[in-house]
């Protein structure tokens, strides 16, 4: 069973800065939506509204039709996977213990077995990597461990905050493959923040362009590219396409 995500009329400010200015969004169950836009556009604030790391001043958020305020934040968060930009692995814990964190918090019967299974899903041999420390892994391997941690407890929803932004091209490719494989096999609903349009085009079903706390336009990648609603969306895609073509790529 997968769950849909929904936000309605979110408003959030940091002092004078309006981070979310009346944002509504729906992510259908089992799909991946990418949030793109420049820094300060509100995409990370929107993402963090779904696990209550941000509590918007106005508006409602639901997962699977029920308000996320119905339960304690800790309980909610154990059901919602999260991959931060630099992985956020605990440096003094082994890979296995890191991945077993949420299974352990959720009271699953054998957290280590769940961790090993999750590591297998992201293409890391638990026998080889399970007892290592995060610093003994490459950047790409660390992000895959962070990804494994986000669904090891069979979370139905995963939030990813620029998870592959700091990786080199090859590691990023490996990480993308791992993400697509896991999604195929486990079928969760995901919200992905990125500023890499190619990544958004590759991984997401729907792209949401944000600007100054509002949603500028949303739709499938081809739709946005063919009929941009604003000059900003047009420019965003033209720039991304130019970079992609320069490398000999086809259409995004």
């Amino acid at each position: 069973m997968t769950l849909d995500l929904s936000a309605d009329g979110l408003l959030h400010t940091y002092g004078d800065h309006v981070a979310l200015n009346g944002v509504s969004l729906t992510v259908p169950a089992g799909t991946v939506t990418a949030l793109v836009g420049e820094s300060g556009s509100g995409k990370t604030t929107l993402l963090r509204s779904f696990n209550r790391m941000v509590e918007p001043q106005q508006g409602t958020v639901t997962i699977g039709g029920s308000s996320i305020r119905a339960e304690a934040p800790e309980v909610l968060r154990r059901r919602v996977g999260y991959v931060p930009q630099h992985g956020g692995l605990l440096p003094h814990w082994t890979v296995r213990r890191n991945v077993a964190l949420v299974p352990r918090l959720s009271g699953m019967p054998s957290p280590d077995a769940a961790a090993d299974a999750a590591l297998g899903h992201v293409g890391l041999d638990p026998g080889r990597f399970g007892d290592r420390l995060p610093r003994e892994l490459s950047g790409g391997q660390r992000q895959r461990v962070a990804l494994a941690r986000a669904f090891a407890a069979r979370q139905q929803v995963v939030l990813l905050d620029e998870p592959f932004g700091a990786l080199d091209a090859i590691s990023r490719g490996d990480a993308h493959e791992a993400f697509e494989r896991v999604r195929r096999e486990l079928g969760f609903t995901a919200l992905l923040v990125t500023h890499d349009m190619a990544e958004a085009a590759r991984l997401a079903d729907v792209i949401v362009v944000m600007r100054a706390g509002k949603i500028e336009q949303q739709g499938r990648v081809g739709d946005l590219q063919r009929s941009p609603a604003t000059p900003y969306v047009r420019e965003l895609f033209e720039r991304a396409q130019a970079a992609f073509s320069a490398l000999g790529g086809g259409a995004l």
Binding site: Y82, G87, V102, E136
Partner: protein, 534 residues
Amino acid sequence: MTIRLGLVAALTVSTIASAQTPVGDARPVIVASKPFGESYLLAELFAQTLESRGIRVERRPGLGATEIAFGALRSNAIDVYPEYTGTGLLAILHEPLDSSMLIDPRRTFAYVARRFNELHGVQWLAPLGFQNGYAIAVRRDLAQRLNLRTLSDLAREAPRLVAGFTSDFIGRPDGLAGLSEAYGGGMRFKAVRPLAPAVKYVALVESAVDVIDGYSTDGLLSKYDLVTLVDDRAFFPPYEAAALVSPRLARERPDAMAALGLLSGRIDEPSMRAYNRRVEVDGEPIPAVAGSILVSLGLTRDNAASVKPSATGQPASKGLLPFLWGRRAETLALTLRHLQLVLTALLAAVLVAVPLGLVLERLRTGAEWVVGGLGVLQTIPSIALLAFMIPILGVGVWPALVALWLYALYPIARNTYSGVRSADPEAVEACEAMGATAVQRLLWVRLPLAAPIVVAGVRTAAVITVGAATLAAFIGAGGLGEPIVTGLALADSRLILSGAIPAALLAIVVDGALALVERTVRPLHLRKRERAEV
């Protein structure tokens, strides 16, 4: 927050302290002294006199200085110590000199005794029979060359001379300033160097300075054949020695009062100088000298039992190593006592400062102020902090523990606060976003990552405490400061080293032990461990 915690801790400690102090006749008479030779000797004489009358005695030799000793006496934390009428008049009562008193010591005594009773309920017993005033001393060859006989002569020659005075003498109203005024604004020395009492005689004999302040009964005056200059303008008040007695003892122990009264008028100045010389120059043990005084005064009932081993009881001729070896049992006992003080204060500080650091880290607002406030405590000189404790906690172990505890708080609280605060913010946040509770984040991530920094704070605190604990001897808490204080008072460098060397070693050992602790709490990823790359 800290203020409240501190107050609670202080109250708890003082409650325990008062609960453990026995009342009534069960309590032994506490005999104390100030930290210089004659005071040690007279206190021991008081103690043996009391014991010869079957009265139980507890000894607290070498209490800090006049403020500490008198503060303890006034609050009944000690019962009796030797004091001097001139000191009482000028340093305790802070009253201006009346010229009529200078002429007649008996008038000074009568006046001081009446004022002490009125103001503090403290009693002066009748004087012992000698005076020990300031004695301005010069080398004999210099006195002859410059024809120095009186202080007026000294005032005339002062611009050519370098003075080495104790800081006590430089600072007291009856010291240098008053002296200079009394001698018509003279005494303008070429230079005035502040000297510790322990080194002033050596400095004079070695010609590092030309004139020093001594006490008229100092044994070293005769050892070095020094000339004391006549106070021809009668500036110095009489310094008659007498037993100063606490309100409690005066009220409740007529037997002890009568026993101490047996010494009144029995010791004249030449005798006292000879006794001091036996202690300070010949290195005879203080209890032995006190015992022989008792015998010569015909006061003893069982003189064989009255001589006990003591901190100062070694012949002066031995070298340092045999001396240290001879004291090994006592040094071990003092070291253990020292360690006990340090560990107790340190443990109490950890129990308070680590939670405090965690609370501050959560509050954030005002945290820097609170930690800064603890830092200010650090700047209070130890001896001043110890003196503040006396009215609340008396003398002995408790005020020392509280003072050491206060000193240890800052490094531990500071490091806990900063360590936990700076622990890998991304890992902590990720943990929160995974659904870990605040307590789980603290126990699983923040404390383990901060542990080496917290332990480093404990190490700093431990080394500070080992050093500061030597000063605890000034308020009678014992430990390795005891031989240091006595050694300074008697200018006995071997005795000083017998406390200073173990104290330094102890600091190194404690620091090393905590370094091991620091290694064991170091998080996995920071350990230097070769892991085979697979």
